[in-house]
């Protein structure tokens, strides 16, 4: 790391400027206690995302979370003698599927959704590799149990350049990557299920100096813990150095209960993996429209341009479109696209098929399974969540999108969160919600009544909003005379209030409007009630 920085003069300077930017935002970077120049933290991430696929990378075994141990193991996965290529882990060491990419992500300043900055982290490479099996150690009986369900599952390793400087940035970048992977469907990317695993490389140094010795923090299984682990490690290193200590190049594990990182015993010492090329796998060749040879079976080749054309909008583009088309606030577009980890989506990122893809040298054949796996990484069908729901409601109602968004983000989302449901599992369909909002828009019911109807709809009894409105007698009182009578009755009993209003205290008017609403059980249009009251009291 140090040698690399020396060779490329600009590297540390860029990092330093970023660090300063971090500092001015306040909080993220701990300032040195001793009054020395502030320490500059450098954070790089290595992310392993499980490729969303029905089968493993080179075998037909299924991929499934929490299946009984060793129930998803083929002859190949157990590397029985004579199965090719098995018995070792395979990775794209020399020619990754993509190189020199970048990822833009947004970060809110001072925890205010309304103040967002966009940052970029360079992506060094993305490579395919096989997952390993799992060892479970039983210390009391000194036994080791091995589960090979995971062995051979396809992973993509996303290697980021050390462009980040704090836990918050790390978490935001991974969040955006997670969204992209989910949008593309190349990974379900659920951290809790191990489909997205993040290792953080952390070091600190003084301005003008070379990068410090780095540690690798593993065992991070949520975004919150990622931010915590990185910040803890930065702080730990600074304290260590300021107390005259040194940082060891070591692997540390994040202990989420203690909230700190601890050295990992079994990872001591440098590993030499002794890589060698795998002769059983012919090169995987990525073509574009220009390089694609004629007469190729399209099922058997990967054509980057073909995939490019079929890419869905990535989250950043989608957010911009939402803001432009519907006039909603940018922060609302973020909420729409990141409504919870259970919202799943899917297809290939520009990120994954960057034009800088290294094309391996000539090779002829390729097992179809291998090609299919490459396609799995690069594209899958689209399945959207909250955004799609929002757009469907907008399509079916006359209400302005700006108003619809409130119903989606406040009412729908909080209900779903309370009951931990996905958008797909919502008992109220976009059609029913649109129906309800139309009643509101046409002033047939009040918004108070609308909330009551929604509460009924959640029960999922198959009634339409109109049926509920009728059943509960929530239709606005259209008869002006009836409403006038009710208003009169309210005024009659409240002389004190009338005097106050007449004296110019308009606030009291709102109280009377509320009383009329109560009297009518929400079946009155507050605007109309206000007009009637004003007419009676002020004219």
């Amino acid at each position: 790391m140090a040698a690399a920085a020396r060779g490329r003069g600009g590297v540390w300077r860029r990092a330093w400027q970023r660090a300063v930017a971090c500092n001015t935002r306040g909080g993220a970077v701990p300032a040195a206690k001793s009054g020395l120049a502030p320490w500059i933290p450098v954070v790089g991430l290595e992310i392993h995302a499980q490729i969303s696929s029905n089968s493993k990378l080179f075998s037909g075994s299924q991929v499934q979370f929490a299946a009984p141990p060793n129930s998803l193991v083929s002859f190949f996965d157990a590397s029985l003698p004579g199965t090719l290529p098995a018995g070792y882990q395979i990775t794209q060491q020399r020619v990754p599927i993509a190189v020199n990419g970048s990822l833009s992500y947004s970060l809110c300043i001072d925890n205010k959704m309304s103040q967002m900055v966009t940052k970029t982290v360079r992506i060094k490479q993305i490579q395919l590799e096989q997952d390993s099996g799992k060892s479970l150690h039983d210390d009391t009986r000194s036994q080791t149990l091995v589960d090979l369900n995971r062995a051979g599952v396809g992973l993509m390793e996303v290697v980021m350049e050390p462009d980040l400087c704090c836990g918050e940035e790390a978490a935001a970048a991974v969040r955006e990557l997670q969204l992209i992977l989910q949008t593309l469907g190349s990974s379900q990317a659920v951290m809790a299920e191990g489909q997205l695993r993040v290792d953080a490389n952390v070091s600190v140094h003084q301005p003008g100096e070379l990068y410090g010795v780095r540690t690798e923090v593993k065992n991070i299984n949520s975004l919150r813990f990622l931010a915590k682990a990185v910040d803890y490690e930065i702080q730990r290193q600074i304290e260590e150095l300021e107390n005259g200590g040194t940082i060891l190049n070591e692997t540390r594990a994040f202990d989420s209960k203690l909230g700190c990182t601890l050295p990992m015993r079994d990872k001591e010492g440098k590993q030499d993996y002794r890589f060698m090329p795998e002769p059983n796998l012919p090169p995987l060749i990525l073509y574009d429209a220009k390089s694609l040879p004629a007469n190729m079976n399209h099922q058997q080749v990967v054509n980057i341009d073909w995939i490019h054309e079929r890419l869905p909008d990535l989250p950043s583009v989608k957010r911009a479109k939402l803001v432009e088309w519907y006039g909603i606030l940018p922060e609302h577009s973020f909420t729409l696209l990141r409504s919870g980890s259970r919202v799943r989506a899917v297809a290939p990122a520009r990120l994954l098929v960057s034009r800088n893809v290294n094309v391996p040298t000539a090779g002829d054949t390729l097992s179809s399974l291998y090609v299919m796996k490459a396609l799995d990484v690069l594209c899958l069908e689209n399945e959207d969540g909250l955004t799609e729901f929002f757009e469907n409601v907008v399509k079916q109602t006359q209400m302005k999108p700006k108003r619809v968004i409130g119903w989606i983000l406040n009412d729908l989302l909080s209900y779903l969160k309370q009951h931990s449901l996905t958008v797909k599992e919502s008992p109220v369909s976009s059609f029913l919600l649109a129906d309800l909002l139309n009643l509101l828009e046409k002033k047939e019911i009040s918004s108070t009544a609308a909330k009551q109807v929604l509460a009924e709809l959640w029960k999922g009894e198959g009634k339409t909003p109109l049926e509920i409105v009728k059943e509960k007698k929530l239709v606005l009182i259209q008869d002006q005379k009836e409403l006038e009578q009710i208003c009169q009755a309210v005024i009659d009993g409240r002389e004190n209030e009338v005097i106050a209003i007449k004296a110019g205290n308009r606030k009291v008017l709102n109280k009377l409007i509320g009383l009329v609403q109560r009297e009518t059980q929400g079946r009155s249009n507050p605007v109309l009630v206000k007009q009637l009251l004003e007419k009676k009291l002020l004219e």
């Binding site: 002794r274 060698m276 097992s367």
Partner: protein
């Protein structure tokens, strides 16, 4: 001819199988087989007989007794690789080549002996003991070797088969089967074929599936074919070749099985004699045999020219580096967890791994794993592994250039000498022996080219000598046609074995006892 006899009902598959089994028993001292699958073989023979009875045999191979080297997986029959590591291991699946043989009605007699994990050139380094060359017991050898060794007992006189497919070569040579599968990584099929006086074909890399062949060197291994004549080799090749989805390195093009033409005119052929194959240690009788063979082609009107493959001398060293590197990686799977031997050592998982591998592998295998891991270390990678790969490319290019210059086939010796007595052979270690014995054969593996050993003559000691033909990639038809022509000219004598005579029958008496 056996196939015709089967079709005509002169012999039934069961009779044939029983005769082979009884011959196999009386030649048990050869130690050619590790496992004899008597029961399943007889059952397969019965099924074959039923097909013949209905007049619906599956093809030329139906009812033909075959043997398979014990590093090919066979469902239901032990697959040991002649190693403690896999003693008792029964694979749940058949290797693709085994399945193809069975699908065509062949009768699988058993699994043949080899060097542990096919690492060796003598068939002397397996846990089941060395294989003895049937020619040690032939009238031809006994007559010639008696004068110089009449004082010694016969026991010290027997010669090795070569290896590592020595069991398969001995099985074919002693008439206990009609064809056998070997494997060829650096010469493991051609070398024992030469020493045992049988045809040994190493097909082009990628023509035959390796799925189910327990790998030695993935980039060089090919299933090999051992038969008594070139025609038989062509038939077996035809039944095995073709794409296999389970081996991505097999070519997708359809393979059309062929019948070999009987060449009468070789005048349009261009035969190359690579001068680098005049290697140190080449015996004078093989040298003169080589020259005579060249003369034979010249006299028949072929163009015979000396050619150069300048990087040949570096080949064996590079082969050693690449071979051990792959061995180090390929052997990683044997950890005692999923299958095979597991040590009782239970202090920790790591100590269990270590003890399992120490107990399971012999010195040769452990030595190759160690050197392979050394070559793959970061600090050595550039100097050994990468360099060896670069030189490998140069070696392959040598062949490309020679073939581009118009040469059709290369003619070389297969071995430096005839087979040596076991007591002599074990005076040198496995590594030294492999370096000597693979010297003329491994370059074809480095380049992926098809090559065949054709028995050519007997040595002064009455032992077989063979010559090697190397062809262009995927030009097996041309290679085998030339080999067949040569075979016809040299009239290699049949082995005269007491045991075979006792099983006197027209099937065995036939000059070549071929099945095609």
């Amino acid at each position: 001819q056996v196939s015709a006899a089967l079709r005509e009902g002169r012999v039934t598959p069961t009779e044939l199988c029983q005769r082979c089994l009884s011959l196999l028993k009386s030649t048990k001292f050869l130690n050619a087989y590790i496992t004899v699958a008597e029961e399943t073989a007889l059952k397969q023979a019965e099924e074959s007989e039923e097909r013949y009875r209905r007049g619906q045999p599956l093809g030329v191979l139906d009812g033909i007794p075959v043997a398979v080297k014990d590093n090919f997986n066979t469902a239901g029959i032990e697959t040991t690789c002649a190693s403690n590591m896999l003693k008792g291991y029964i694979s749940p699946y058949n290797a693709t080549v085994v399945q193809k043989l069975l699908d065509q009605g062949a009768v699988l007699l058993g699994k043949t002996n080899l060097d542990e994990f096919a690492m060796g050139s003598g068939s002397t380094d397996g846990v089941f003991g060395p294989v003895r060359n049937p020619w040690s017991y032939s009238r031809q050898y006994k007559e010639k070797s008696v004068p110089e060794s009449h004082s010694e007992d016969e026991e010290s006189n027997w010669v090795i088969t070569g290896g590592s497919s020595g069991g398969s070569a001995a099985a074919v040579s002693s008439f206990t089967c009609f064809a056998a599968l070997g494997s060829d990584t650096g010469g493991s099929t051609r070398n024992p074929a030469a020493h045992c006086g049988v045809v040994g074909l190493k097909p082009t890399y990628g023509l035959i599936s390796r799925h189910g062949l327990i790998p030695l060197v993935n980039s060089m291994d090919v299933p090999g074919i051992l038969t008594r004549c070139v025609d038989d080799a062509a038939v077996v090749l035809g039944s095995l070749a073709g794409h296999d989805p389970k081996d991505s390195t097999t070519i997708q093009d359809n393979f059309e099985p062929f019948e070999l033409p009987s060449l009468t005119n070789v005048s349009k052929l261009s035969i190359g004699i690579p001068k680098e194959y005049h290697a140190p240690g080449l015996s004078s009788e093989i040298l003169s045999l080589w020259s005579k063979a060249a003369e034979l082609f010249k006299n028949a009107g072929a163009r015979v020219i000396e050619v150069s493959l300048p990087h040949t001398c570096y080949s064996i060293v590079c082969y050693h580096v690449l071979c051990t590197a792959e061995v180090a990686s390929n052997m990683a799977r044997f950890d005692g967890l999923e299958y095979g031997h597991r040590s009782d050592m239970n202090k920790s998982t790591e100590s269990m791994y270590a003890a399992t591998r120490r107990e399971g592998f012999n010195d040769v295998v452990r030595g190759r794993i160690l050197s392979g891991n050394y070559f793959l270390l970061k600090q050595n990678y550039e100097n050994y592994f990468i360099k060896a790969q670069k030189v490998r490319r140069l070696i392959a290019n040598d062949f490309v250039k020679v073939f581009e210059s118009g040469v059709d086939i290369l003619l070389t010796p297969t071995t430096l000498t005839d087979a040596v007595p076991y007591v002599e052979f074990i005076k040198e270690d496995n590594r030294t022996r492999s370096a000597q014995d693979d010297i003329l054969t491994q370059a074809a593996n480095m380049a992926g080219l098809p090559a065949i050993n054709v028995p050519a003559a007997l040595s002064e000691r009455g032992l077989p000598l063979g010559l090697q033909f190397i062809g262009r990639s995927f030009q097996e038809r041309q290679l085998l046609s030339v080999a067949k022509w040569f075979e016809k000219q040299v009239k290699f004598p049949m082995i005269q074995l007491e045991e075979v005579k006792r099983h006197d029958h027209d099937v065995f008496q036939h000059q070549k006892s071929s099945f095609s």
